[in-house]
């Protein structure tokens, strides 16, 4: 007999409470197999494809594309044909053909979430208020959800949303019919919406201060030119970014506050002893920031390889949560298209971000001789709540020194001690 199974938005990652439905990969009425991807969900800048827990027919899609959905919310209903999950049937068949006509029953492999523990009047109240009980923490005996729990959840989570929804369509009061407003409304969806939120969050929470330096990278340019061939022979496309990442990690080790974040709730600075360097990548969908994990422990070519991989994944929208989380410091190419100096917004909750620009050839003095030199402008935005200007300036000049003398950061640290 067919039964309808509810598909909830699963726990997609530690600490992630909600995701945005980017795109449904199935339609209502489609047949779907267990583990087949059914929906693309976007969390903190990564999109994840959620597999179907059941085999059957997609009866209903309950979340709209563009909608924000909390973990545990029912997003779809699948009509399952069998009285048991597919996996169990396949297993039963594998083991042995049934001896009698009786249906073999096996305990379900995938255990569904426990039924919410709440009395009927509370469940009715939740229905009327539009509260999803699976998100409410019960304070009654044994975790039973009480009326008060539902009301509290409603006041804190549902009501503000409703208010916002009501306010939003009310704002553009319909103009007189003859006036044609020359505007196009483009909905902020997916990565763009997330970008908007994160930028606003970073700018409103972090008091940014900005510094910039001009770096003579003539030596670096020469070095890269020499290494390029070797890199190519190994199938690596060597840009300047791997050098900058190496220099940055080395400088960060000397200035740990720039590789940390502020735990506002506890009033503590969380200094990270790992160096996951984020690189901002512009994609058609918007800005994403995957990071190179443990960049300090990796070689130049390996970093180059990983940059290429991450950038490619980003462009194809295939970044995983793993790729984008746990970043500690970010580098962004603000001047690629042509500004002399720009100041990026910190990738919250990190404490600083480095902006890099185009390398330009211009006349400069080297050992008192005027000659053609290569220059790179770098800029730093940092969190002034716990990083002083002097500290940040010293970091930047240390970084400048490394970039001007690349051997200093390419050689092993202990060799200079």
């Amino acid at each position: 007999m067919p039964r309808v199974e509810k598909v909830k938005l699963p726990d997609i990652g530690e600490g992630i409470a909600e995701g945005e439905i980017v795109r449904w990969l199935v339609k209502e009425g489609d047949q779907i197999k267990q583990f087949q991807s059914m929906v693309e969900v976007l969390t903190d800048k990564a999109s994840v494809e959620i597999p179907s827990p059941y085999t059957g027919r997609v009866a209903k899609l309950l979340a709209k594309e563009g909608e924000r959905v909390r973990v545990g919310t029912v997003i779809a209903e699948i009509e399952v044909e069998d009285a048991q999950p597919q996996a169990a049937i396949q297993e039963a068949v594998k083991e042995a053909p049934p001896k009698t006509a009786e249906v073999q029953t096996k305990p379900q492999e995938q255990v569904a979430r426990q039924v919410v523990r709440a009395p009927p009047s509370v469940r009715r109240l939740a229905q009327e208020l539009g509260v999803d009980l699976s998100l409410v923490v019960g304070t009654g005996p044994g975790g039973v959800i009480t009326r008060e729990d539902v009301m509290k959840f409603y006041e804190e989570h549902v009501k503000p949303k409703l208010a916002a929804q009501q306010a939003a369509p009310a704002a553009p009061v319909t103009p007189p019919a003859q006036v044609v407003t020359p505007v196009e409304r483009i909905p902020l969806r997916g990565i763009k919406r997330r970008m908007a939120e994160k930028m606003a969050e970073a700018k409103s929470k972090i008091p940014h201060v900005y510094l910039a330096e001009e770096v003579d990278v003539t030596e670096l340019v020469r070095l890269r030119e020499n290494l390029k061939k070797l890199a190519e022979s190994k199938g690596v496309k060597l840009t300047y970014l791997p050098f900058i990442i190496k220099a940055v990690t080395k400088a960060l080790k000397e200035f740990p506050l720039l590789n940390s974040s502020l735990d506002e709730a506890r009033g503590e600075i969380v200094v990270k002893k790992y160096y996951n360097i984020g690189i901002a990548v512009d994609t058609e969908q918007g800005l994403v920031v995957p990071n190179i994990k443990n960049a300090d422990k990796k070689g130049l070519f390996q970093i180059a390889r990983e940059i290429e991989e991450l950038a490619e994944k980003a462009r194809q929208g295939k970044l995983t949560l793993e790729d984008i989380r746990d970043g500690t410091f970010t580098i962004t190419n603000v001047g690629a298209i042509g500004s002399t100096v720009g100041f990026p917004i910190i990738n919250y909750p990190e404490s600083a971000i480095l902006g890099i620009h185009r390398i330009v050839k211009k006349p400069g003095y080297y050992e008192d001789r005027l000659e053609p030199r290569y220059y790179l402008n770098i800029s730093l935005s940092f969190d002034h709540r716990f990083i002083e200007g002097g500290y940040a300036a010293r970091f930047l000049s240390t970084l400048k020194n490394y970039l001007e003398n690349p051997l200093l950061f390419l050689a092993q640290e202990d060799e200079f001690k």
Partner: protein, 461 residues
């Protein structure tokens, strides 16, 4: 649209009339269409008449079983049936009175949907409706070999009309209807044969109940044949000669076919207006009791099993409230089921297997009723009670019992499950003494390892 009614309900049974009343209470203009009698299958041919039939039968049986009561008891069958009919009339009349009292317009006749907002009622004409609630219920299923003739071969409806006590009856089908009728006829002195196609009586129900039902009926003298069907039948004037699949031959005066139900969803114009049915013909609904057509709701047995009047009541109310613009769901944690044998059998909530599927760590405990004084007095000693609870949270998940008044005490378990109560809650709730409800205190304490009326013997290896 200029609709005449806000809501038209098709069907005056438990899935229909409560919704009509509720919708009217919420200010809707409501009509109800009934093709037969108000109260539906339950009031007229099911729950009500069968319980009325059982009351005198059980009373006589229990008096007879008290060996110290002297004298003969006799049953005037014709009067007995008249009394049952008068009960049915009263209850059905009560439904009509309520509907009228709430200003629900009644139309008598078969209804058919012409479009999503129009009904055609025979002999009356078209009725316009903003919203429609379909509660047409089920009909008894038939067997090709055993066509109901109302003379020798009966279903649950026609059997109520017989005015002379048969000497013998073959009941085909060992589900709860067959079991109830078997115990009824056995108690009023009819020779009862019961044939069930499956290996057990009450197929699909708790196995302890199934075994207990078999034992109980055997004690009443019912001749039970499982794994058995009717192979051929030869009808005489007042008798039927039956050959069973086992080759055994029987002669009985009546045959009662009780092999299940089928949805009454044909000829209503449902498919034509886009109402989706499942492959068995039941109407598909969502949690708000809405069908695949936005303004059409369905409730009660027409939405598929379990086919229970009390479930229909709740669904009907939910459908009506949604039709009136509220946003509510039919989402019971537990729907109780009762089989009116004696002692009664009842169950509610999850089986161990269902609990496991729902992510619990179920434990179950079965207890005999010897430690419950009232059960001993009431002759329920052969009964039992069983609880299913979560090992970690001790939350009550399911309850099964064969006990005197099990149909009443099951409600305590239902409420406990709905409230998310634990067996500790049950054990700390004072139950009046001596009552059957003390089962809850005893079994919970037993599960917690501290019973008062049971001796726990240490298991020996």
């Amino acid at each position: 649209m200029d609709s005449k009614y806000d809501l038209v309900v098709i069907g005056g049974g438990p899935g229909g009339y409560p919704g009509a009343i509720r919708a009217s209470q919420l200010g809707l203009r409501v009509a109800l269409v009934e093709a037969d009698r108000l109260g539906g299958e339950c009031t007229n041919y099911g729950c009500i008449p069968t319980k009325a039939l059982l009351k005198p039968a059980n009373t006589i049986w229990s008096i007879r079983s008290m060996k110290f009561v002297k004298g003969e008891l006799d049953l005037d069958f014709n009067e007995y049936i008249s009394w049952v009919s008068s009960i049915v009339e009263r209850i059905s009349g009560g439904v009509e009175m309520l509907l009228k009292g709430y200003g629900v317009d009644l139309y008598r006749g078969e209804a058919k949907l012409l479009d999503r907002n129009t009904l055609y009622v025979e002999n009356i004409g078209e009725i316009k409706a903003e919203k429609i609630l379909i509660a047409t219920g089920t009909n008894p299923s038939e067997l090709p070999l055993l066509k109901v003739d109302g003379e020798v071969i009966h279903n649950n409806r026609t059997i109520l009309r017989i005015r002379r006590k048969p000497s013998s009856i073959l009941i085909v089908g060992g589900g709860y209807i067959g079991v109830e009728f078997a115990s009824l006829y056995a108690k009023i002195g009819v020779e009862v044969h019961l044939a069930e196609i499956m290996p057990n009586l009450l197929p699909g129900m708790d196995q302890d109940l199934s075994r207990a039902a078999e034992r109980m009926l055997k004690n009443l003298g019912v001749k039970i044949r499982t794994n058995t069907t009717v192979k051929s039948i030869e009808k005489r004037q007042n008798e039927a000669h039956v050959e069973l699949s086992s080759g055994e031959k029987l002669s009985v005066e009546k045959i009662l076919v009780a092999v299940g139900r089928k949805p009454r969803s044909e000829n209503l114009g449902l498919r034509e207006v886009g109402v989706e049915l499942d492959e068995k013909g039941y109407i598909r609904v969502d949690g708000s009791m809405r069908t695949s057509v936005e303004n059409i709701y369905a409730s009660g047995d027409i939405t598929g099993p379990p086919l229970l009047a009390h479930r229909a009541f709740m669904q009907s109310l939910v459908a009506a409230e949604n039709a009136a613009g509220k946003k509510v769901l039919y989402d019971p944690r537990a729907v109780p089921s009762v089989i009116f044998t004696e002692p009664e059998m009842a169950f509610v909530g999850m089986s161990e297997e269902e609990a496991r599927k729902n992510g619990y760590k179920p434990k179950s405990l079965k207890m005999p009723l010897g430690g419950v004084a009232r059960a001993v007095i009431e002759g329920g000693e052969e009964g039992f009670a069983k609880i299913i609870y979560d090992e970690d949270t001790k939350q009550l998940l399911g309850f099964v019992a064969m006990a005197p008044h099990a149909s009443e005490i099951v409600s305590e378990a239902t409420l406990a499950i709905e409230m998310g109560a634990s067996i500790e809650d049950l054990s700390l709730t004072i139950h009046p003494h001596p009552t059957i409800s003390e089962i809850f205190g005893e079994i919970s304490e037993l599960a917690l390892g501290r019973p008062k009326h049971f001796l726990i013997r240490k298991r020996q290896k």
